[in-house]
């Protein structure tokens, strides 16, 4: 009887088949629309609070209004000047500059252009602000007087920088973010070795995040396994212990690690007391990469345990039993049966921890010393201290692109696998 129905289905005419697929698509589409409506509020929320800041950041990383907006006359005059000519701009350009400086000083806007130009070349700030202070008293012709006030105005390279940055959009921030520079002649090249920062930082951020992810997995997997195999009541109690770190502030947790790990800290004291290390040879486990790794592993551990646990909880114990009854040793049963089924948990936990880690900055700032800093610290630094928001935005975009790239790789490698076991 069963065989009959199978055959009957197999006998559909091509027309009927076509209709069937059309029907199927229609019902699927209706499902999709309903799903879309359900997520709409969240979608709007995300658009406003998440996508638009990111769009702003993207924009800021190329936005370059300072020179063109606050030095409009100079910008216009320089448009006629050939930067490769090896000749200083003409008198009209100097006159335009003086006009801009006068206006800029009155409106207190010249500082913005000066700050912007100083990112590209040192001394540019004082060249502009210093000259602006005296610009009011100048009479034409200006060229020689300006060069006398500050010989920077006789330096062709300075004019090249102004011309380059007078366009409303710039790639300078990205060039800087990749440890490169634009020479006065206009070519882009790598910075000298001892001035490169960000690529190394980025690379370090990635590998340390990977290390932290691996460590959380190593520590979290057995714990999750235990939690998932214990009776509900005990598991819930232990779960509270796992979640306990969430209840204390990040700063408190980080500071307590300082107390634990520092030279005169608890762990070193114990090691010295047991004679494992000598008193004047205490291990340095903090204010370096080790400190960052240890502390962040601890802080991010729950983010590994939770997805692992939630996946493991759904693996019935009968699978392991079945494997054992079929003759597998406990180890084989685990590797061949349990592990593959926990892969969705592993990959979810790993990607979560990795993405959280790669953007972290508070903990590295506090315990990372010089070798344990992340790229996030550089971004925070440019946001808060150097106030070079364009560079901060460019670094943010680079980091974002990196995360997206890694995520794409992840879903390529593991996504299909996940689907398999879900199906």
């Amino acid at each position: 009887m069963m065989a009959n129905t199978v055959e009957a289905k197999g006998q559909l005419t091509p027309d009927e088949q076509k209709r069937l697929t059309a029907d199927m698509h229609r019902s699927l589409r209706r499902k999709k629309i309903r799903a879309l409506l359900l997520v709409a509020p969240l979608l709007i929320f995300i658009l406003v609070t998440f996508v638009s800041p990111i769009a702003t950041m993207l924009f800021r990383s190329i936005d370059n209004p300072q020179v063109s907006e606050y030095m409009p006359n100079t910008t216009a005059a320089l448009a006629r000047w050939d930067a490769d000519s090896n000749e200083l701009p003409d008198e009209a350009t100097y006159a335009a500059l003086v006009t801009d400086l006068k206006v800029g000083r009155e409106n207190h806007t010249i500082g913005k252009a000066a700050t912007r130009l100083n990112y590209e070349k040192s001394q540019m700030r004082s060249l502009l602000t210093g000259t602006a202070r005296k610009a009011g008293r100048l009479e034409p012709p200006f060229k020689e007087q300006l060069i006398k006030i500050n010989d920077g105005w006789g330096d062709i390279d300075n004019w090249r920088v102004i011309k380059r940055e007078s366009s409303p959009y710039t790639a300078s921030y990205y060039i800087a973010a990749f440890d490169m520079e634009t020479t006065p002649a206009g070519e882009i090249r790598m910075l000298p070795e001892q001035q490169r920062v960000y690529l190394q930082m980025l690379w370090r951020t990635v590998w340390m995040s990977l290390l932290i992810t691996a460590l959380t997995l190593l520590l979290g997997y057995p714990v999750s396994y235990l939690l998932a195999s214990l009776p509900m009541g005990i598991a819930n109690t232990l779960m509270i212990l796992v979640l306990l770190p969430f209840w204390t502030s990040l700063l408190v947790r980080t500071s307590s690690w300082i107390a634990m790990l520092q030279g005169q800290g608890v762990i070193n004291d114990i090691l010295v007391w047991f004679g494992l290390v000598s008193d004047d040879n205490r291990l340095s486990m903090i204010y370096n990469a080790t400190g960052t790794v240890i502390t962040m592993t601890h802080i991010l551990l729950p983010f590994m345990i939770l997805p692992l646990y939630s996946v493991m909880k759904t693996i019935p114990p009968s699978y392991m039993r079945a494997a054992r009854s079929l003759g597998a040793t406990p180890f084989t049963a685990f590797v061949k049966v349990y592990l593959p089924q926990s892969v969705p948990g592993i990959s979810a936990g790993a990607i979560l921890v990795f993405i959280l880690a790669i953007g972290y900055y508070i903990t590295p700032a506090l315990v990372g010393g010089q070798t344990g800093q992340f790229i996030g610290n550089m971004i925070a630094y440019h946001m808060q201290s150097s106030l070079n928001w364009g560079l901060a935005a460019a670094l943010g975009v680079v980091l974002l692109a990196l995360v997206l790239g890694i995520y794409a790789l992840y879903s390529r490698l593991l996504g299909s696998n996940n689907q398999m076991s879900l199906r």
Binding site: S325, L326, A328
Partner: protein, 366 residues
């Protein structure tokens, strides 16, 4: 079948007890001998300790007390994977990340079997359960019945001598379940493996088993072949649990040569086989199968004759179930063949009924 062929029991529970919490015994003093090749079913209500017993046999639970022998060897300290016991789980436990063929190959691979050997065996096993073309599917792409058959095939593919099945058909609908019962029984007969089967469906147990162990409250109430269990229950629980049963409670009046007299609360006296009674004057429950009650008995056909009042008639095609009030007991069921003679059966009417004392068993009080 040749149950008695091996004098030595293949599986043997000896005084096995189990407690999970150290307070309550969920299995109390279990003693069973299962000869090689037998199909033994553990039957009992939920929570009676069937799965626990099976798990102790498979090695996933340890017995708190007592010994379990397999082929004459105590296996208390043998790890599950070394026991060589095939097992079919209630939810099948097919590995979802492997195809059907990979599932079947699993027990062979862990035994380091050669590749071609594995292939032929897997194919043979799939053919046996008529799923030859399904090897590349994943379990989730199979129907319940197909999954069930894969689970059976997987338990058999490494040719174990003993197979355990824990309510393997619990998740299937009635038709499919009956079909599968038949198939499993067939496979058992064909291969001659020993099967220990757990179910709480009595008709399933009756159809499939050589012997049935009826569990209640961690104790085997009766261990006997299906016919004996149905025809000759030795206690009220079994009588009530297996098949349909009329029970009449009364006090033991007298007993002689295996025949006793029981007085019902309404005063009537009933003669019955004395199977499991206490002293004279104590309570006893009479057990009587509905199909052994005659309507309008012929003179001399029955030695217990009473008048019943018809309370309800249910038409079931080939027969009618008639609920009557007999001796003040209004749950008394009589099965009446659907013949022209019985057309006049009316609710509210009365009819003489009777049964033979050989069909009525005096058992322990409920």
């Amino acid at each position: 079948m040749e149950n008695s062929a091996s004098s030595e029991a293949f599986v043997r529970f000896e005084g096995v007890q189990k407690s999970y919490d150290g307070k309550v015994l969920v299995v109390k003093d279990l003693n069973i001998d299962v000869p090689r090749g037998e199909f033994l079913t553990m039957l009992g209500p939920s929570g009676s300790g069937k799965t626990t017993s099976l798990m102790m046999l498979a090695g996933f639970e340890t017995a708190t007390h007592g010994n379990i022998y397999l082929d004459g060897r105590s296996i208390n300290n043998v790890a599950p994977h070394k026991r060589g016991i095939g097992m079919v789980f209630q939810n099948y436990a097919l590995f979802p990340h492997m195809t059907v063929a990979e599932n079947l190959a699993f027990p062979l691979k862990v035994r380091n079997m050669g590749k071609s050997e594995i292939e032929t065996r897997v194919k043979r096993a799939l053919d046996m359960v008529e799923l030859g073309s399904f090897g590349d599917r994943r379990p989730a792409q199979l129907s319940g019945g197909q999954q069930q058959r894969v689970a059976v095939a997987r338990a058999l593919v490494f040719e174990p001598d003993l197979i355990l099945m824990d309510e393997p058909l619990g998740a299937l609908d009635k038709n499919l379940r009956e079909q599968m019962q038949y198939e499993i029984k067939h496979i058992h007969e064909r291969l001659g493996v020993t099967v220990v089967y757990v179910t709480h469906d009595q008709s399933e147990a009756l159809t499939m088993s050589n012997r049935i162990a009826v569990f209640n409250d961690g104790i085997i109430q009766q261990l006997a072949p299906p016919t004996e269990l149905y025809e000759k229950p030795t206690n009220s629980f079994v009588a009530q649990f297996i098949g349909e049963n009329n029970k009449l409670s009364g006090t033991l009046q007298s007993t002689q040569d295996g025949i006793c007299t029981v007085r019902l609360p309404t005063g009537e006296l009933v003669t019955a086989l004395d199977i499991n009674t206490d002293d004279i004057g104590k309570e006893s429950t009479l057990s009587l199968r509905p199909e052994r009650v005659f309507l309008d008995p012929v003179e001399g056909q029955c030695d217990n004759v009473f008048t019943g009042k018809v309370e309800e008639v249910i038409y079931l095609g080939d027969h009618k179930r008639v609920r009557m009030n007999v001796c003040g007991h209004d749950e008394f069921i009589v099965k009446v063949p659907n013949s022209t003679d019985n057309k006049g059966l009316q609710v509210g009417g009365t009819a003489p009924i009777g049964w033979s004392s050989k069909d009525c068993r005096a058992l322990d009080p409920i």
